[in-house]
C-alpha cells in the first residue's frame, strides 16, 4: 500500500499551478486534501508522475456569497465550510449533509472542490451540486470556463475537465428564503459511502428530488405536487421505473426500496423544514 514514486511540486500561486499543468498535462494530478487521491495512489489505481500540491496557495482558500451563489475556492476544507456560522442560513442543504460526509479527520483535510473533482456518484457534495444546478469554474492557462453540473459529471469518476484545466472554485446557487430542504442517506457505517442518498428541495408546489448512489451519475427529477402523498406517489413510480445499479453492496431491489423510504422521509423533512432547527 505505497504510492508509486512521483515528483511533488509545491505550487505557490494560481499562475504557478497553471504553468505546471500546461507543462505536465495528463502526467500530473492536483493534490489538495488528498482524502480520495492518496488511497487511489496507494492502491495504484493511478500513478501520475507529477503531483501539484495546492495547499499553500492562499488565493484559493476563499469562500463566500457573491450575487446569488455560494462560491467555494479549491483550497477550502470541508470542515471550514461546515463550521461557517452563515452556512445554515445560506446553504441549508449543505448543513444537512456535512455530518454524513465521511468522518471528522477526513473533513478536516478534504476539500469541497476535491470531492467534486473526484465525481463519485454517491458523494453528498456531488449530489448537492447537481441538485442545486450549480457550476464548476475550470481554468487553464488559455481560458476560463464555467460548466454546469449536468455537463461536468459525465459518469462515475468521470468529468469534462481537460488535463490542462483545474477547478478554481465551485458555485452552489442560493435558493429563496421559503425553500424547504431534506436529506437522508443509508450506508453500512456512519460516514461510509452512501448506498442511496436522497436530497430534496421544495419551492411552493415544485419538488426537485436528487438521488445519489443509484447510477453512474446523480439523477435529478422534478415534479409539481400539492401534497406529500402526491410526491410520494411520484417517487414510488420513479423507483419502479428507473434503471438502478446492482452491485455487491446492494441489490437493485434494496436500492429501489431505499429510494422510496428515504425519498418519503426527505420530502417530509423538506415540507416541515426550518433552518434554525438544523443541528
Amino acid at each position: 500500500m505505497k504510492s508509486a514514486p512521483f515528483v511533488m511540486h509545491q505550487a505557490h500561486s494560481q499562475s504557478n499551478i497553471l504553468d505546471l499543468l500546461d507543462k505536465y498535462g495528463e502526467d500530473a494530478r492536483i493534490i489538495a486534501g488528498g482524502q480520495t487521491l492518496v488511497p487511489v495512489l496507494a492502491m495504484r489505481v493511478a500513478s501520475p508522475d507529477h503531483l501539484i500540491d495546492i495547499n499553500k496557495v492562499d488565493e484559493l482558500k476563499k469562500f463566500g456569497v457573491s450575487g446569488d451563489v455560494l462560491q467555494v475556492g479549491a483550497g477550502v476544507r470541508q470542515s471550514e465550510l461546515e463550521q461557517w456560522s452563515e452556512l445554515r442560513k445560506t446553504q441549508p442543504l449543505l448543513s444537512l449533509m456535512f455530518p454524513w460526509i465521511a468522518h471528522t479527520p477526513i473533513r478536516n483535510r478534504g476539500t469541497v472542490c476535491g470531492s467534486i473533482a473526484h465525481a463519485d456518484p454517491s458523494a453528498e457534495l456531488v449530489l448537492a451540486l447537481a441538485l442545486l444546478d450549480g457550476s464548476v469554474i475550470l481554468v487553464s492557462k488559455k481560458k476560463k470556463r464555467v460548466v454546469r453540473a449536468k455537463d461536468f459529471f459525465l459518469g462515475a469518476l468521470q468529468t469534462s475537465r481537460q488535463s490542462n484545466e483545474f477547478i478554481e472554485a465551485v458555485q452552489f446557487p442560493v435558493r429563496g428564503p421559503h425553500a424547504g430542504f431534506g436529506f437522508f442517506e443509508y450506508g453500512y457505517r456512519h460516514g461510509d459511502f452512501a448506498v442511496v442518498a436522497v436530497a430534496v428541495i421544495k419551492e411552493g408546489d415544485v419538488w426537485t428530488i436528487g438521488f445519489g448512489g443509484i447510477d453512474d451519475v446523480v439523477r435529478v427529477y422534478q415534479c409539481t405536487a400539492t401534497s406529500l402523498d402526491k410526491v410520494k406517489n411520484f417517487i414510488d413510480e420513479l423507483a419502479a421505473d428507473t434503471e438502478v445499479r446492482e452491485d455487491p453492496t446492494a441489490t437493485s431491489g434494496l436500492r429501489r426500496h431505499l429510494m422510496r423510504t428515504l425519498g418519503a422521509r426527505a420530502c417530509q423533512q423538506a415540507m416541515e423544514f426550518k433552518s434554525d432547527e438544523i443541528r
Binding site: 488511497p39 468522518h103 478536516n108
Partner: protein, 164 residues
C-alpha cells in the same frame, strides 16, 4: 530517491529528516522519526488507527504525505502522557476494558480527546458518531463509549461545570 527535507514539531520537539515524496506522514513518524505509538492499520483511510493531530486538527496520517506536513506541529499518542503517567482518558480506557489488543487505541485516544475538546458534554449518540471514523475489532465499542462518557463527566465536575 530521498529528496525532501521535512522539519516538524513532534510532541513539542523539533525533528528533521529527509524522505521520499511518496512517504506518508504515518511512515515518516514511525520509520524516520521512530515514534511507533501511532499505528498503521489499513493505510487507505478507513480504520482511523493512524489518527494524529496536526496544527490542532485531527487527520489521518496515512492520507497525507510527509512533505505536506513540513513546518507543522504534530501531536501523537506519545504526547498525551508525556510525563510517563497515564492521562485520565487512558486510565478510563483501562478501567472500562476499552481495549483488548490495543492496536486501534492510539487512534481512539486522539479522536476522543478531539471530541471532548469540541463537545465537553457529549451524549452517548454523539460519542458514537464522533468516534465513527475509528474501527475496533475487539471490544464492540461499549467500553470505549463508557470510558469517554465517564471522562467527560469527570472533567466537567473538575471544571465546576453546570451541565454535569
Amino acid at each position: 530517491m530521498k529528496s525532501h527535507q521535512v522539519k516538524l514539531t513532534l510532541n513539542g520537539v523539533e525533528r528533521e529528516e529527509v524522505c521520499e515524496s511518496r512517504t506518508t506522514l504515518l511512515d515518516f513518524i514511525r520509520h524516520d522519526l521512530g515514534s511507533t505509538g501511532t499505528h498503521s492499520g489499513c493505510e487507505h483511510g478507513v480504520c482511523g488507527a493512524c489518527t494524529v493531530e496536526i496544527d490542532g486538527q485531527i487527520v489521518r496520517s496515512c492520507l497525507m504525505f510527509a512533505c505536506q506536513a513540513d513546518g507543522s506541529k504534530v501531536n501523537t499518542v506519545e504526547g498525551i502522557a508525556k510525563s510517563g503517567k497515564m492521562s485520565d482518558l487512558q486510565n478510563a480506557f483501562k478501567k472500562h476494558h476499552a481495549l483488548q489488543c490495543g492496536f486501534c487505541t492510539s487512534g481512539f485516544l486522539l479522536s476522543a480527546e478531539d471530541l471532548l475538546r469540541k463537545n465537553p458534554y457529549p451524549t452517548e449518540l454523539e460519542v458514537r458518531e464522533g468516534l465513527s471514523g475509528n474501527l475496533c475489532r475487539c471490544t464492540g465499542y461499549v467500553g470505549i463509549v463508557e470510558a469517554v462518557l465517564e471522562v467527560a463527566t469527570a472533567r466537567v465536575y473538575q471544571n465546576g461545570g453546570e451541565h454535569a
